[in-house]
């Protein structure tokens, strides 16, 4: 671990010690080993991917609102590039659209924006380290994203610009294992699997790094129970990643071997698929589902826990109050992570697995709602009695809590197996996971961008634009996804290119049009975010070290911090949530690094005052 390089002033970040060791432009901004640069690289990449994934989703939505119509704009611009006939979405292309939408959003946006962008940027700063434990590994973890993106992109271009994986993000065999089952997918599915593996490699490098850094590189005084909840969440997430990911990677290789080398893991014999010769072998299709969900259920928490942590930190700072129930917050995250490993079967209630297993998975799934509930109560407890300031950060955090409540509650319907018999693979599921993944995680990230932007770039983001973006996103989001619960109740299945050929769904077209219009609104709103992000970089109000009067170690570093982060090596004297402490006179916060007011009385964050 390298020593701390003190920087001289606020403004001349990185230059104060330029003679110390010279890094050129490429080393500094492209193949950088500085965790902050890597974090920002991840952030910008994932925001761009967010727009790509959003565009794909609008394709899906367009088809559901105006089935078989030529897409406006797209059909003119690209001719027949992606779609079959002059911009009209063919049924096959439709399957590719939702497959790639989910793949991009999950693997190139949500997972990397949390761990890659915020994990990277925040971990060393919040624990008072000068960088990650393994900076080179860290750099590689970012640069492995690009081959992954290329592989996903490749999958869109092989077979003459008109192919893509078409088997859903869950890629269930036999469909995904036998090439003839989804002819358009062709080699694309294989590329997709490589892409998935590369994302996994990237995550794994990050995860090893985060665990090591958090365990070994905390500043003096930063005991485990003085760590901000963001750090706890990143730590728990890294552990989840490390244990769950190998299973997916192995499953991915098995599927590749099956597609290309003729292995038979998942495909049973004697199937007559399309024009393919009858299959031979004795594979088991459910094996994939077990392996896939053994990773992907913990993965949904990988896609949520860091946001939970960050929201806790932001919320405490915005309502000027200690987090309510620090230790229960930590333990409930640990419980979610632990239980998260034994609930994967709830995705398979109708798969025909042993009904006794179904019961077991049902009970564990019900139980995982419990720590989620505890967290919600604690967030409300945190707001209770606070001095609430409604800025963009607060708005996004409150939206996080509110949307997470909806997503958690809809999970209860599906956890009840008999009800899930009806809801499985309908739009109820789609509503559920968008509430947790977009409603909770992404709103949390919007808040986090606004909150830590001054630390990243030394300037504040525009509040006006931030609020506008929030308002439009929130309305667009709820308009899009809330009615999907009703579609699910109406038995509207997922992944249908044209549901209206079924008489019982004919009357659902108008509500689908409404949903699509809301989705377009939500899509447009994201340009405000991008504009705000870019514009504030040049024109934002200059920020000092601690624009939010927050307590964490990161706020004692210059904004933006130079190479090596801290000009004065930080020492941590207390937990991160001492807002409105009676010990602080004249202010309502007490930084973790503040030695003057250090008294024995205020120790760990979790020590009770009641």
């Amino acid at each position: 671990m390298s020593a701390v390089h003190p920087t001289v002033g606020l403004s001349d970040h990185g230059h104060g010690h330029a003679g110390h060791h010279e890094i050129g432009f490429v080393g500094k901004y492209i193949f950088s080993k500085d965790h902050k640069v890597i974090g920002i690289q991840f952030l910008i990449t994932t925001l761009l991917m967010l727009m790509v994934g959003g565009a794909l989703a609008l394709g899906v939505r367009f088809q559901l609102a105006w089935p078989w119509r030529a897409m406006p704009l797209v059909s003119q611009l690209t001719g027949g590039l992606f779609a079959a006939e002059g911009g009209q979405i063919s049924p096959e292309f439709y399957t590719m659209l939702f497959t790639m939408h989910a793949s991009v959003m999950i693997f190139l946006v949500i997972i990397p924006i949390l761990a890659g962008a915020f994990g990277n940027f925040l971990i060393p700063l919040m624990i008072g380290a000068d960088d990650m434990a393994f900076p080179t590994l860290n750099m590689l973890s970012y640069w492995f994203m690009w081959p992954a993106i290329a592989c996903f992109g490749m999958s869109f271009t092989v077979n003459g610009l008109n192919a893509a994986p078409a088997n859903g993000w869950t890629a269930y065999p036999v469909l995904s294992a036998v090439v003839q089952a989804a002819p358009g997918a062709g080699d694309a599915q294989t590329w997709w699997l490589f892409g998935l593996t590369l994302v996994g490699v990237s995550s794994m490098m990050g995860s090893v790094n985060y665990m090591t850094t958090i365990i070994n590189m905390r500043a003096p005084g930063m005991t485990l129970f003085r760590m901000p909840l963001t750090i706890w969440s990143m730590f728990i997430t890294a552990i989840l990643q490390a244990f769950a990911l190998p299973v997916l990677t192995a499953a991915g290789f098995m599927l590749v071997a099956e597609r290309t080398l003729g292995f038979k893991f998942f495909v049973p014999g004697n199937l007559l698929i399309n024009d393919a010769p009858a299959t031979v072998g004795g594979g088991q299709p459910l094996l994939w589902q077990h392996l896939f969900w053994f990773y992907s259920h913990p993965a949904v928490y990988i896609m949520l826990l860091p946001a939970m942590g960050m929201v806790s930190d932001m919320l405490a700072a915005q309502v000027r109050k200690p987090i309510f129930g620090y230790k229960p917050m930590v333990y409930s995250m640990a419980a979610i992570a632990g239980l998260g490993f034994i609930v994967w079967g709830h995705h398979m209630f109708t798969s025909g697995m042993n009904p006794a297993l179904g019961m077991t998975f049902m009970i564990s799934t019900m139980m995982i709602a419990l720590p989620s509930a505890v967290k919600v109560f604690n967030w409300i407890g945190t707001i209770w009695g606070g001095k609430v300031q409604f800025n963009t950060v607060t708005l996004n955090c409150v939206a996080f809590v509110s949307m997470f409540i909806v997503g958690g509650l809809s999970g209860i319907f599906m956890a009840a197996v008999p009800v899930d018999i009806y809801f499985h693979d309908t739009y109820f599921i789609v509503a559920h996971f968008h509430y947790v993944l977009f409603g909770a995680t992404l709103f949390g990230c919007f808040g986090a961008i606004q909150f830590w932007y001054p630390k990243m770039f030394g300037r504040m983001m525009s509040e006006r634009l931030g609020k506008l973006h929030f308002l439009l996103s929130f309305i667009g989001f709820n308009g899009t996804f809330f009615p999907m619960h009703l579609l699910g109740i109406a038995g509207f299945p997922r992944r249908y290119a044209d549901p209206y050929i079924h008489p019982y769904m004919e009357h659902l077209m108008p509500i689908n049009r409404f949903i699509t219009l809301c989705a377009i609104l939500m899509g447009i709103a994201q340009f405000i975010l991008l504009f705000n992000f870019a514009f504030s970089f040049f024109a934002g109000k200059k920020a000092g070290r601690n624009p939010w009067n927050a307590n964490g170690l990161e706020w004692s570093a210059p904004s933006p911090p130079g190479h090596g982060n801290f000009d004065v090596p930080p020492v941590c004297y207390r937990g991160p949530y001492e807002y409105s402490s009676p010990l602080s006179e004249g202010t309502d916060f007490l930084m973790q690094t503040d030695p003057l007011r250090h008294t024995g009385g205020v120790g760990n964050a979790g020590d009770g005052h009641h």
Binding site: T95, A181, P328, S402
Partner: protein, 270 residues
Amino acid sequence: MNKFWPFFFMFWPFVAVVLFFIAPSMGWWFPSEAFSPLGVQIDNLFYLILVIVSVTFVGTHIGLGYALWKGVDNKAEKGWFSHGSHSLEVLWSIAPAGILMFISLYQLDVWRTYRVKSAYPKDLYGVAEVTARQFEWRIRYPAPGKKLQPTPQPDDLYTVNDLHVPVNQPVLIRLRSMDVQHSFFVPALRVKQDAVPGTVIPVWFEASKEGGFDLTCAELCGWGHYKMRGRVFAERKTEFEKYLNTLKAEQGFDGVNKPSESGAEIAKTE
């Protein structure tokens, strides 16, 4: 203006609740009531959970909204300096745990009757074998008066996409797939079961009303997933038998001799 945002965060749950109240009358609700005894139980369970969840949803949002409402014009110099409360934590862990446990145990029975062989109804009638393939449902009935056999018999009767079953009679189908995964979904009966290649899965259901119900595929099975449209016809026992006899007559027709009388008549009227 100060209160705009607290109001905003309390307003949207209100809209959500109103939406749920008007949804049934707008057609944004179950396609029909459940036309099967098990389906009725599933619906009851759904409504029970809906009540519990709605109360929680409204309650938490009132709490959240109230905290925000008070928080914006909190005139105190500082916020409430509290790190939490042990008794509250215990309370709000135990209460949801109890409710969740209750829901879990309460619905085990329905699941058991649906899926555990020993709990199946005693008078199950093996009506047909349903084999899903890209993109249709192939149906194999045993000849009238015979029992459904695991392997195809020479006198079996075949149709595509139309499954006829006797009404008010628990029936069993053997669900298979010829190629990829599919899922047998009849919304009106609240039945769904994946068809897994390489496995035969028994599925039972009982239609409690005569009529034709939509059958759809609920597991992505390729580009034509959306168009695997089938129908389940529940009809009186006599009609069901007539139907089988017609099928028999049609499929036994060698092209030379006249099909049997009764069969020809029905074929005409259809």
